[in-house]
């Protein structure tokens, strides 16, 4: 990436302003955090033209690199980092998507920025001392200080952090988290740039297993290892019928026990879904699982352990034996 960088330097904000790093559809969540800083926001996009256009349509000037066919976005991490370091960013923001993180990690290292996960808000403060180079040295990049709020423990608490130097923030993105109508397109803000990628090849094999309607379901009932036997899955299916829901499961149910097809398990390495209601039964709430359902509007959980992690993130929790609570729920729903 080298051409035309000066044309998209942000107009305001500390240091070189806020830069959005985009390689996936979850970027609106990162943009909200960036805009909340009142800094001028620019974006570096690695992906298809449609992705660059979508970011530009949000009113953000875009530097755009289009990956050559069969090349992953990660291959552009080094040239993107060089480009962004030259902009002396005061703030870098990206999502937790694997490719976006790889790009942001490279950019943060070269810019001498701190890197904080789980960010939900940031604001500039005074008294910055410049960036760090990872070994305690100062790069002087940006020279701005930040106060960052981030979630910990699956959202159970919010931590406030002060950084004396530029920061890079990872924001939990969700592909369908923007209910607002798209903004009016802004013409002429996408500037293609040349970049020499690292030698990598990418192939994608479409899933042979249908998702079973999970992605589009309004209501999903998911069960975990709290269900003791395969025969008991019928009880969960009766609950799903009463709710008009699709049935999903946690990773061990599909992967270790094989009770449901692997296309039915929800988690970081499984399905990512965003139903209106996600009801868990006998799921403790491991981070791997919760990451697949961050887009759910309402989470309700049934578990006999009142200390289960799922109760940190659920909107509603029922503490009890699922073999007693689920039949009662079916009765209540039919009443």
């Amino acid at each position: 990436m080298s051409a035309g960088a000066g044309d998209v330097r942000p107009a305001g904000g500390p240091g070189g302003g806020a830069w959005l790093v985009v390689a996936d559809a979850g970027w609106p969540a990162a943009l909200r955090v960036a805009r909340g800083t009142s800094s001028g926001v620019s974006a570096a996009v690695v992906g298809p033209r449609a992705l660059a256009d979508a970011v530009a349509a949000a009113g953000v000037p875009v530097l755009w690199a289009e990956p050559a066919g069969g090349t992953p976005a990660e291959a552009y991490a080094a040239p993107l980092a060089e480009q962004l370091a030259a902009e002396r960013p005061a703030l870098l923001v990206g999502t937790t998507h694997p490719a976006s993180r790889a790009l942001l990690g490279a950019a943060a290292a070269l810019a001498g920025a701190r890197l904080l996960t789980g960010a939900v808000a940031a604001e500039p403060t005074t008294g910055g001392t410049g960036g760090t180079d990872g070994t305690g040295g100062s790069t002087g990049a940006g020279g701005s200080a930040w106060t960052v709020r981030r979630t910990l423990l699956d959202g159970a608490v919010v931590e406030t952090l002060d950084s004396p130097s530029p920061v890079a923030l990872l924001v939990q993105g969700a592909g369908a988290d923007d209910d607002a109508p798209p903004p009016a397109p802004v013409a002429g803000t996408v500037r293609p740039v040349a970049a020499a990628p690292a030698a990598m090849t990418l192939t994608t094999v479409p899933s042979a297993e249908p998702a079973g309607g999970l992605e589009d379901a309004r209501v999903v009932v998911a069960f975990g290892r709290g269900v003791r036997s395969r025969d008991d899955v019928a009880l969960i299916e009766r609950l799903a019928d009463a709710l008009g829901a699709q049935v999903a499961c946690s990773m061990p149910v599909a992967d270790d026990r094989g009770w449901l097809d692997r296309s039915r398990y929800v988690g970081r390495s499984g399905r990512h879904i965003a139903p209106r209601l996600y009801l868990t039964v006998g799921i403790s709430g491991a981070p791997q699982h919760l990451e697949g359902v961050r887009g759910a509007q309402v989470v309700a959980a049934v578990d006999q352990d009142p200390a289960a992690r799922i109760f940190r993130v659920a909107d509603y929790g029922v503490v009890g034996d699922l073999y007693e609570v689920v039949p009662a729920l079916i009765t209540a729903l039919q009443g």
Partner: protein
């Protein structure tokens, strides 16, 4: 191929509890194997097996060396005075300095923990290596992308000798299916757990672990800093906390259904 597996480098978030005032009790704050560490170790061992190479462990703070030594890793390094930091780049800075101290490393494999998602990304950035994250499996292949011939078409070593395995092929899930990426070392791989069940080592393996070497490192020896951001503390989120129903099954089931209906969810 020399592979470093980074393990027990963060606190066990599952052991933490949130007090009523929003502060967090970390139960001593010791490091512990993460949810993704077993999967990361499996990937590291696979790469070493494919290439006739070796796996070396690396842990921070009070990480229990026997965890990796009892699982077949021949030796491990430990940065004993590394503190637990909020800044993922600072944590990655310590790991990067340790990897440089170990030397001649081809691939660093790290559990891709959601709560510390920045660490493998920042580690790659600080090393100046590419990062492939969200990985669920990896193998060595005989030809690197960009080399002469057909790039990235061979299977795991595919009949080539171990010395000919010059690239790494990783797979990971994507919304549309499965992605396969082939790249040449050096690389940082962030590995996400795909299986929730892992075999625990037996007594024989635990005893053998005691005889395997642990090389101590210090921040001063590897030239790493431990400069961190400052925490003002934690608080409960502004959103309403979980509404918990406890009592007889019929009662709590009725309360949940009523709440969902009142909220317009059903």
């Amino acid at each position: 191929m020399r592979v470093v597996i980074v393990y027990s480098w963060a606190r066990d978030t599952g052991a933490a509890s949130v007090r009523a005032d929003g502060s967090v009790d970390w139960r001593g704050g010791r490091t512990a194997p993460g949810e993704d560490d077993p999967a990361a170790l499996a990937v590291a061992r696979q790469l070493a097996e494919d290439t006739g190479g070796e796996v070396t462990g690396l842990t921070l703070g009070d990480g229990d060396a026997s965890w990796v030594l009892a699982r077949g890793v021949g030796s491990t390094w430990s940065v004993g005075d590394a503190p637990l930091l909020a800044d993922d780049a600072a944590t990655a800075g310590i790991l990067a300095a340790a990897v440089r101290a170990i030397g001649d490393v081809d691939v660093v494999v790290v559990g891709d923990a959601a709560e510390r998602a920045g660490v493998p990304a920042a580690l790659a950035g600080l090393l100046g290596w590419p990062a492939l994250l969200g990985v669920t499996a990896a193998s060595a292949v005989g030809e690197a992308p960009g080399a002469a011939g057909t790039a990235g078409t061979a299977g795991a070593t595919d009949g080539v000798g171990a010395a000919d395995a010059t690239a790494v092929r990783v797979t990971r899930p994507s919304p549309s299916g499965t992605e396969t990426i082939t790249a040449a070392p050096p690389l940082v791989l962030g590995v996400a757990a795909e299986s929730g069940t892992h075999r625990a080592p037996g007594m024989k393996e635990l005893l053998a672990a005691r005889r395997r070497p642990v090389t101590p490192l210090t921040l001063a020896r590897i030239g790493a800093g431990a400069d961190d951001v400052t925490s003002r503390g934690t608080e409960l989120p502004p959103a309403a906390p979980t509404r918990v129903f406890e009592g007889p099954p019929d009662q709590v089931a009725g309360q949940l259904v009523a709440a969902l209906r009142a909220g317009g969810v059903l």
